[in-house]
Symmetry: C2
Subunit: 156 residues, 2 copies
DNA sequence: GCTTTCGTTCGGTATTGACAGAACGTTCCG
DNA sequence: CGGAACGTTCTGTCAATACCGAACGAAAGC
């Protein structure tokens, strides 16, 4: 049993809970948790199954989910017939971009709401105008912020 | 039946779906949707029950949730024994601040992960260093952005 | 070429949580 | 005071979904 075993499990569980808050399955969060602290940085599906005490099917499904989200990626492995995953460099930027698109959609919804209230008094429209201004500002500024961070740290 | 009936229902459903993505109950999102486009801008619980065809209990519970999140607020009403809600000015800023706290928590989790890898090589730490840098930057910059937007639009 | 070992997909199961109905407490009116 | 209207809370029910086991398909070694 590796040292710091319990601490690592706590970390994995923290990541899992966080991504559960973000609407993802627990197991997906746990896989990501492992791939964030494992040494070496890549892990096979069998490794993940053992580490998480989860079934093949669950690991397979959730790993594919993370792969499609571009948070992890498959890497070459000398082992035959085995698939290895690792955390994908730049994954956090990708993650934030995804969240960003969600906020952007609220921007559009607000616009549609303003259309519905186009004949109404400005005070009535203020509720949605506030949303529109806020989320278009975020939609505009946050990509710049992300790009800035990205360049500052040499993330691909 | 009021004009633009279907359009309003679509708007309400869009808001509902959006906040479902954010991890909130459907009914809470629908209440918020109504309070974003209703005229007058306040609605009693009975109004909401009728508009949404939902039970008193559901409306009561979810309105309280939105109230605790500071997205809506109770307002005075001439009607006896009735409670009126309206969208709370500045609610969107509050909303974004809440989301921000969530990202902040990831920043702290990343720090704990780095502690676990303190003896590891820098390449191994890069995964978490990227998260740490990204989310502390966001945690630092986004409040400024929010404050900027807030002042620019005179939101309380 | 047969067996073995992985990964994927499908169907069933258990758990979670959102909603409605019922009972309760409160406030206002007759 | 008694009754009615409104909001809250509690409990049961239903639906959604995350997980597992099993069957299937593919690829490598004997």
């Amino acid at each position: 049993m590796p040292e710091r075993f319990y601490e690592k499990r706590h970390f994995i569980e923290d990541i899992s809970l966080y991504f559960e808050q973000m609407g993802m399955p627990r197991t997906a969060g746990r896989i990501l948790g492992v791939l964030l602290i494992c040494d070496p940085p890549e892990a096979s599906m069998i490794d993940l199954c053992e580490e998480l005490q989860a079934s093949k099917s669950s690991v397979s499904t959730n790993a594919r989910l993370l792969d499609e989200m571009d948070l992890i990626e498959r890497v070459a492995t000398p082992l035959p017939r085995q698939i290895c995953y690792r955390f994908k460099p730049g994954g956090w930027v990708t993650f934030m971009r995804m969240r960003l698109r969600l906020y952007g959609s609220l921007h559009h919804i607000a616009e549609r709401g303003l259309d519905l209230l186009q004949d109404a008094d400005p005070p009535l429209r203020a509720r949605l105008q506030e949303a529109h201004d806020m989320f278009s500002a975020i939609e505009e500024e946050l990509p710049l912020l992300l790009k800035h961070i990205q360049e500052e740290h040499g993330i691909p």
